[in-house]
């Protein structure tokens, strides 16, 4: 086997493994959310399928796949078909730039534990998260339903607003690590994670990513109490499932990004790097679920107020302070 074909094989194995782990983790995150929410609300949660209800995700998958795929008569057919994919694919693609472990050496070949080591990794994440808006907007619009359209427009406005503060909260990270490359950002946190230097940026980033993945308290695009199910009201079967799984993949990916940018990535004492990375990612995911069980939904004007008048100016001030600090150091 030549070195080139060995590289290709290793890469293919890595890719398949990442895909499998992400999709399985997303399915079990749904289960974990239902169990944790039940625990928060003093209920039992799904516990009948398999031991402790562990086969519930499989049962859900079979149910969704065998359900009728309903398309509203007046819907825009092609865009209605495509919208769930537009929501789920960017979320999976973002994971390709996240380093999830220290580089390995297998059969004498160097194997970095990241799918694509781009030198513009951080910008790649921002570009894909700005693309993810289309799934929500087009899904809401193509359904040709008032609830869905309202959800779609809300989603558009919310994602545009919070993308800004999210991007601005990452500028200090680039200033500190002097690189857009994710591996360099992780390497810069070998001793002290950036959350120590940038607590404010971390809070802004966490609030913004909660809004980006449309979770309570920012779940206005799908507000059940007012809009039935928001932008995916008219979807059924696996198309709805794709929206749903996309949301949970998003949670995992954004958790991984929070770990990479602020919590030191895969660095940590004693345990292997990949375990540390998974632990940090799942801790952020648990935080999302915990918030959902605790907080009420914001009103639309409160959401816009928080984004434009609080988070964005704070992020700008934070950049200024970081600049001064770096200049005076």
């Amino acid at each position: 086997m030549t070195a080139f074909s060995l590289d290709i094989t290793l890469f293919a194995i890595k890719l398949a493994l990442v895909f499998f782990v992400i999709l399985t983790l997303a399915a079990y995150l749904v289960f974990a959310e239902r169990r944790i929410l039940a625990w928060v609300q003093d209920r039992k949660g799904p516990n009948r399928v398999g031991p402790f209800g562990l086969l519930q995700p499989l049962a859900d998958l079979i149910k969704l796949l065998t359900k009728e795929d309903v398309i509203p008569g007046a819907a825009d057919r092609w865009l209605f078909y495509l919208a769930p994919a537009m929501a789920a694919i960017p979320a999976i693609l973002i994971f390709s730039v996240i380093p999830f472990g220290a580089p390995l050496t297998i059969f004498g070949r160097n194997l970095p534990l990241v799918v694509a080591d781009l030198n513009v990794g951080l910008l790649f994440f921002l570009s894909l998260s700005s693309i993810a808006v289309y799934g929500v907007a087009i899904g809401g619009w193509a359904s040709n339903s008032k609830y869905a359209l309202l959800g779609g427009i809300r989603g558009l406005a919310q994602l545009i607003s919070y993308e800004l503060s999210m991007g601005l909260s990452l500028v200090p990270i680039v200033m500190l690590s002097r690189s857009f490359n994710m591996a360099d950002i992780v390497a810069a946190q070998a001793t002290i994670p950036f959350i120590v230097y940038q607590p404010l940026a971390f809070i802004i980033f966490m609030l913004s990513i909660t809004a980006e993945c449309k979770r309570i308290p920012f779940d206005l695009p799908e507000a059940e109490g007012e809009l039935v199910a928001g932008f995916h009201t008219e979807y059924s079967g696996m198309r709805f499932g794709l929206f749903f799984v996309g949301e949970y993949i998003n949670i995992i990916v954004l958790g991984g990004l929070a770990a990479t940018f602020f919590l030191g990535g895969w660095h940590g004492p004693l345990l292997p790097p990949t375990v540390w990375f998974s632990f940090k990612t799942l801790a952020v995911a648990f935080f999302f679920i915990w918030m959902r069980g605790t907080l009420p939904r914001l009103r639309y004007d409160q959401l816009m107020h928080l984004g434009w008048k609080v988070l964005t100016p704070l992020a700008l001030v934070n950049i200024l302070i970081t600049g001064w600090w770096l200049a005076l150091k």
Binding site: L118, V120, L123, L126, S130, V133, Y134, I153, I160, E163
Partner: protein
């Protein structure tokens, strides 16, 4: 070889996307075609060893400008603008003149510069791309940026409120004689 094949596929997608974006009458569909075209352009930039330009293409154009277009279209519900009155030939004239100038100049530049065009240059740093773009092809860049002017004129035309029927103001003047008419 693989890179060239990918380049030609992407170039075809970009051209087809742009063409469909112009000819498609439904604004939301037009936006989706344009986003497809912008995406292919971004990957072409990546093939040209300019990942920064590629990413900015997606963040700025596909992710920000097009999303705002979509937002405005969804908010305003424009109805069927294509069923409105077609423009008068006098209103066609400036557009024809400007596009004529631009196309002739571009053709002149292409004809005068029959130099080698390498499809996939070897790893070029972004500095080199910028230098070549603005030193050797500066004039072409300026001409292409004239397109923004056309868009501006077009937007002005579309945004112009339809002129009110000529009889209405006269009636108002008649109704209030002696008073200064303030509009």
């Amino acid at each position: 070889m693989i890179e060239q094949t990918i380049f030609y596929i992407l170039a075809a997608v970009a051209l087809a996307g742009t063409l469909l974006a112009i000819t498609e009458k439904h604004p939301v569909h037009a936006i989706m075609y344009l986003v497809t075209s912008l995406f292919s352009m971004a990957v072409i930039f990546y093939l040209l060893m300019a990942p920064l330009v590629a990413v900015f293409e997606v963040i700025l154009y596909a992710g920000a400008i097009m999303v705002l277009f979509l937002f405005v279209i969804m908010m305003l519900d424009l109805g069927h603008p294509e069923k409105g009155i077609s423009p008068h030939w006098k209103e066609w004239l400036p557009a024809l003149l400007l596009s004529g100038i631009s196309i002739t100049s571009l053709a002149a530049i292409i004809v005068s510069r029959h130099a080698t065009v390498s499809v996939c240059p070897a790893a070029q740093p972004i500095r080199e791309v910028a230098r070549r773009l603005f030193q050797e092809h500066g004039m072409a860049v300026e001409l292409v940026s004239l397109q923004l002017l056309f868009a501006l004129v077009g937007a002005l035309y579309l945004g112009k409120a339809p002129s009110p029927p000529t009889t209405l103001p006269e009636k108002e003047v008649v109704k209030s004689p002696g008073e200064g008419v303030t509009l």
